[in-house]
Every structure is written in C-alpha cells, then in structure tokens.
C-alpha cells in the first residue's frame, strides 16, 4: 500500500531548501534600495520615568541626520495588537508620550543617511527624565503600595471585570477536604528571549502609486499590515506587505514593532526606510517569554485519584500587555493538565512590572503549565507510592470527561500516546495500564 504513496513515509526535499543552502534565499533585511534611510531608536535608559523634555538640537546637527519622528508624528499612537483579538485596554504607545516604563522603551525615532549617522544622532539626543520608583517582582507588584506601572491604577490585567482570569469546575474546597493527601508544589521560570538569528526588521519603500511596500520578517504578515494600517490611519489598500522569510521567530516576531514606524518614516521622507534591530536591541528590547510563578495544591486519594486541583499562576507581562493576557487565557484553560479532575479552581494573574514586555513564545502560556503540572504529577506519585506511569494513566483524560472549562473532551489520545511512548523507551507497562483506552469511562473496565 505504501508503494502508492508519494509523500507519506518518505523524506521530502523542502522546496525552499535550495535557496537556503545556496544563500540565495532573500531575507527582508538583505534588501538595499537606492536612497534608503536608516532608522535608529532613542530608547529609555531607565526602568521608569516621567519624560520632562526631549532636546533634539544636538542630534539635528549631526551630518547625515534627516529627521526625527516623535509621538506627535504618529497618527494613532497606540499599538493595537490586542485590540485585533478582542483584548482591551490598549495601553502601549508606539512612541512614548510622557512616561517610560521599561529600559529600552522607544521615545524618538531618528532617520539618517547612514547607520553610523543614525547611531550618532541617537546618542546626541538629550533626554530630561524624572526617574520614578520601579517594580520588578510579581509578588511585590501585587502588594499594597507598589509603584503602579499601568495607567489604570492597578498592576493586574482585568478579565471580564475581575482582576484575574478564573476557571471553576465542581467544588475544589470540598474536594481538598475529602482527600487522603494534600500535595503542594511551587514552580517558577525566568524570562526567555527567542534570540532569532536574523534580528527583527523591515524595509518600507514608497511606491510611485502612493502605496508603501513593506518587506518584513514578521511571523504574522496580515497582523502587521492591519496594525500598520490602524496606527498610520491608512487604508489597507495603500499597504503591500511582503514576508514569508523569517530568520527565526519562535513567537518573537509577532509583536508588530518595526513596520509602523518604518512606514511612517517612508511617508514623511518619501524615501525607503530600513528599521532593523541590532543584536542588543533584539536581546534587551524585543519581548520575551513571561516569567511565571505557578502554585499547585492537589487533593489525592490513597489510590492515586486526584479529586481536587487548585492552580494559582502569575505571569509577568512586563511593562505592557502585548500578547501576554491572551497567553494567560490559554494558560488558564490548560493549567490543570490533561487529567480528569472533578474539582478544579484556576486563578491566573497577568502582572505588570517595569521589565521588558513579554509576549508570545512557543507554547504560548501552556509550556510552563505543562512543566509545572508534570513535575507535580511526579510528586503526587511519590506521596501515594505509585510509579509515574500509573499516576498518569489513572488520571488521564478520556473522551467524554469534563475539562475544567466545562467542555467535554473529544478525540483525546493521552492513554494511547503514553502506551506508545512506553513501547518506544522499552518500558513494560503492567497489564492494567496496557488494557486502558481513551474510550469514555462508562464503556470500559478500569475506569473509576
């Protein structure tokens, strides 16, 4: 049968492979246009400050300086990433107005004939800043009296009128009270930078027909186009975005940071504008995966059945929310893990601090949940004296089980996947576990 298949079971040469191995693949940051200007950013040197003044006079005298872009030049000076997916409020300015909330926050964009001239002009911009107290720790940010990062007076993101995201199933307190064992765990992670090998960047080129062609290494081409259209108040048909070549992304290139300003620069000067992060900007300024604190309390019966799970999570979104509130919603939906637990309470907080904004990265809120839950499962196994396989099989979610967000599970294959994994690593499962399937509990033996 496989003889009739052209692709399944075969190794297929990638159709873009030749371009990669010959170096002919064309990345947006490789492009050079006649008369191209270079955009470099004046950024906040401090974690939190009020902007009292910006003096451009020395920068304007640098040979090769063309012009500066300030918040006054941006038609709709606010990033709208979240608005596009229905998450409000919008709170991050494209260029800072009167306050900066993290080291590296963009304040003034400089356009110059050469990169060297742009760097020098950036260095010559004088910022008059009044430093404000800053907060870097999530527990401290939520404590009374903490410096407030946001403009709405709280360091927590608001979900449906509440100060955090809640998921409830059954009665978790009753479940914990009835359990034979209580197992507590706390799990923490640091921020992680995607560090793509090609740094974030684009080139915006004005066209004779009044349109702008933007060559960009974004991971989300239409997301970038929509945002640029809103920020510049330009109809979408005046923007042509060309992408597809992403020199590494991993979630780090969905923030729509460079295209609006490069395009604005092209609008204001009539010349192509290149805005590409240097390596330090990529590491310091581009968003990271959030740091997390995840606390889990499980109620477990002597046979290993988990009857209650309470998860309290905190994700540091840094100074601005970007896509982290959305990541937390995804996190909350998955924070109890792929297990059938009748009583669950999940409380997930999106916390603002004066750190670099965090955003999407591989797994998007779920990666850390999986890490925490799986280490917790090993602890539970230890407490009740079962091996790590058995604890997972006994609690594995099956078709028809109700998930914490109260939707029935369908098309699950955790049991079968674990059986296959055991076979691959040469681990012999006891007959009881080999006999299990993902079929609904009322249709098989071994269900509880």
């Amino acid at each position: 049968m496989t003889a009739d298949l052209h692709v399944v079971g075969r190794s297929v040469e990638r159709n873009d492979g030749i371009g990669f191995v010959t170096g002919r693949a064309r990345y947006s940051t490789d492009l050079v246009f006649p008369g191209m200007l270079h955009l470099k950013m004046v950024r906040s040197p401090v974690h939190h400050a009020r902007i009292r003044g910006v003096d451009l006079s020395a920068a304007e005298r640098v040979p090769g300086f063309v012009r500066a872009l300030t918040h006054q030049d941006v038609p709709h000076n606010v990033y709208t990433i979240l608005g596009l997916i229905g998450v409000e409020p919008e709170e991050e300015f494209v260029l800072a107005v009167d306050r900066v909330r993290y080291v590296g926050e963009p304040i003034v964009a400089i356009l110059a004939e050469t990169e060297a001239a742009a760097y020098e002009a950036v260095a010559r911009v004088h910022l008059d800043l009044e430093e404000l107290p800053a907060v870097f720790d999530m527990d401290e940010a939520l404590a009374p009296g903490a410096p407030i990062v946001t403009h709405w007076g709280s360091n927590a993101f608001s979900y449906d009128g509440d100060d955090h995201r809640k998921v409830r199933l059954g009665d978790v307190e009753a479940g914990l009270a009835a359990a034979d064992h209580i197992v507590d765990g706390e799990y923490r992670s640091g921020p992680i930078e995607h560090a793509p090998t090609e740094t974030t960047g684009c080139v915006a080129v004005p066209e004779p027909n009044g349109r702008f062609t933007v060559y960009t290494n974004t991971q989300a081409l239409y997301f970038s186009l929509d945002n640029t259209s809103i920020i510049l108040q330009l109809p979408g048909n005046r923007l042509r975005f060309i992408g597809g070549m992403v020199g590494g992304g991993f979630g780090g290139k969905v923030d729509v940071i460079v295209e609006p300003l490069a395009t604005l620069g092209a609008m204001k000067t009539g010349r192509p504008v290149r805005y590409v992060y240097n390596r330090s900007e990529e590491m310091q300024v581009s968003s990271t995966r959030s740091p997390w604190i995840i606390r889990i309390r499980d109620g477990v019966m002597a046979d290993g059945t988990i009857v209650a799970r309470r998860v309290t999570s905190y994700a540091d979104c840094g100074a601005y929310s970007r896509q982290t509130p959305y990541a937390i919603t995804k996190h909350a939906a998955n924070a109890a893990g792929p297990y059938a637990i009748p009583n669950v309470a999940i409380d997930a907080w999106c916390v603002f601090t004066n750190r670099t904004p965090t955003s999407a990265m591989r797994g998007f809120g779920v990666t850390m949940a999986s890490f925490a839950v799986e280490v917790q499962m090993d602890r539970v196994a230890e407490v009740v004296g079962l091996d790590p396989w058995t604890i997972r099989f006994r609690n594995a979610i099956r078709n028809g089980d109700i998930k914490p967000h109260r939707k029935p599970a369908a098309d699950v294959a955790l049991v079968e996947t674990m059986q296959a994994a055991a076979a691959l690593v040469g681990h012999e499962l006891p007959a009881e576990l080999r006999a299990m399937t993902s079929a609904p509990r009322d249709q098989q033996d071994g269900g509880r």
């Binding site: 030749i18 693949a25 740094t199």
Partner: protein
Amino acid sequence: MASVIVGFKLAGREVEVMASPLATLQQVLRTQLGHTSVKDGCRQGGCGSCTVLVDGEPMLSCLLPVQDIAGRSVTTLEALTPAEGLHPVQRAFLDANGFQCGYCTPGMEMLAVALLEHNPQPTREEIEDALGGNVCRCTGYEPIIEAITAATGSREAGR
C-alpha cells in the same frame, strides 16, 4: 569623511569598491557587491552567520575593516555555488535538512568547507569544536553535524 577605493579578489575576480573609512567587509559584500549569503546576525563576532574565507581561512566579515584585506582573496557562498547543481557541502546540508530558517546556513557551510580543507576526516568532536562560533536557533546542531559528517563521505566518494 573621505571614502577610499579598496581592491581585493572575490570569487577569483578582482573587484574594487568605494568604502567609507572603517567600512566592514560584511557591509561591502552585502550592500555593494550583492553577496547577501553573508548574513548579519549580530555584528559582534558572536553568531558566525557572516563567516567568509580570507585566503582560505574563516573570518568574521562583520569585524573586519575591508581596508585590512586589500589585495587578499575572499570566498563567500556565492563563490562556492556552482552555476548548476550544488557544492558537496550544500548537497549534504540539503539532504540532512541541516537548516530550518536558513539564516545561519551560509556561515555554517563556509565553516564546514574550511574545516574539510584543513581536516578532510574530522571526528565528531572536531566538528563540534569547529562549529563553536556558529549559532543556530532552530534545528539544533544535530542535523548540521550529520550534514558535515556526510560531506566528508561525499568528498571521499567524489575523488
């Protein structure tokens, strides 16, 4: 700012460029000579994506003022790619899927070519050490090491 004319050999041909003082070989290759296989991952000597060969030795073009290599011979991936088909190292990278986003690939290949010139049968450890300055963020290094290992075989076979 007085630009200077610098001549060197690129892919066996004499080239002359007008370079601003302290312009790097990377800038000149990418923006004036169209050799955009020379990548631009960090400009700090930390990623290896801009690796070229100068008189056969791997160097980082982002740290090299072009005036420093006046009169010398520079090889980039453009120079190694045959008009038709692929260089054995390129073939090996393609077969082993030694790339994902492709941005580190030219630097990896230039280093592999230099390594195999110096040491036609490198051990795995020698390959790893040689690649120490070239960073990949997508595939991990295993398929890249596989590709270079395979290239040693194909060189042998081609002789």
